[in-house]
Symmetry: C3
Subunit: 132 residues, 3 copies
């Protein structure tokens, strides 16, 4: 963690560079610092994955609406200030890339941050150690 | 919210019009009324996204089983009666479209409704204001 | 339930047989037994779906990192021992298939097990009865 998954309607695909958005959001997470100036999210645990939905329905369906849902899952235990600051920074990052899209399209974007409450957590691989 | 995501096995794709299902489920949500006759879910926040899984395994794998998982995330604070009624209405909607599929195929369908407990919630775009 | 969804970066697709992984993980779940020797997870409710993400960003983006996220949702009420044993068995199963991938690639894999807390749960279809 943090683990950010983006679910979006396929009609958004042609209007924005989604890979660029993923990178910008990951960089935003990596820049978050806590009260002691320490990185909030570990580099090796930071990832963003984005999925266009081939089938969808939005609102009343009377126009070619688009929708983007960003769900960030983080570990529990961080302060409200840190969580709010991270949320706001991600929204600002998304706004910078989506503002041109909002001009000519009817699109909604929601970011929700969840604290994971998993009953089991296992890890494998060589990515985390690379950054420690 | 409400935010409905459908994850299903790719072998279902040829057996049902998934875009039609998305629209029917969205319409079902828009028709939900509370005790005061008010729309339960805001039009601008209603969306359904459906994802066929290219890789999957179901049950014991001894036949070409299919599976459809519908996960609806709603805001917290609604009455049990409203939540149950919305759940039942969505199941009825799915049944109407899937009954012909169940006749000739071994398919399971599960709907689960979760109340979001997000620690941050941010919105952008021009979709919500359109319906207010 | 159990319901296992795998979200992974598209660069993993060529390095592992993801359908084989799905099947191996499903078989692992089906083999879990409780203290009384009874199957922990019902056959008709066991399913694994895997989704490659066409857009993604991992860690600092300075190399072709891969990431695999396994999220298992189970019903509430099982003992800690059973949940830990299931988690460990799934990690062992993933390790067996991913060890060759880890040798030549920078890849992280995380498994998290969540207990569902749905406010509504509905089922349709002919899959569950088949195994009862």
């Amino acid at each position: 963690m943090p683990h950010l998954v983006i679910f979006y309607t396929l009609n958004i695909e042609a209007k924005i560079d989604m890979s660029e958005l993923c990178r910008a959001l990951a960089d935003t997470m990596l820049k978050q610092l806590d009260e002691a100036g320490k990185q909030v999210f570990p580099t090796g645990g930071t990832r963003v994955l984005a999925y266009p939905a081939p089938h969808y329905a939005v609102a009343d369906g009377k126009a070619d609406y688009g929708f983007v849902y960003l769900n960030l899952r983080i570990g529990a235990g961080r302060s409200d200030a840190i969580k709010n600051e991270a949320g706001r920074a991600l929204i600002d990052c998304a706004r910078a890339l989506f503002d041109p899209v909002f001009k000519d399209n009817l699109v909604g974007l929601t970011l929700q941050v969840d604290e994971g409450a998993q009953v089991f957590d296992g890890k494998l691989g060589n990515l985390h150690p690379l950054f420690q």
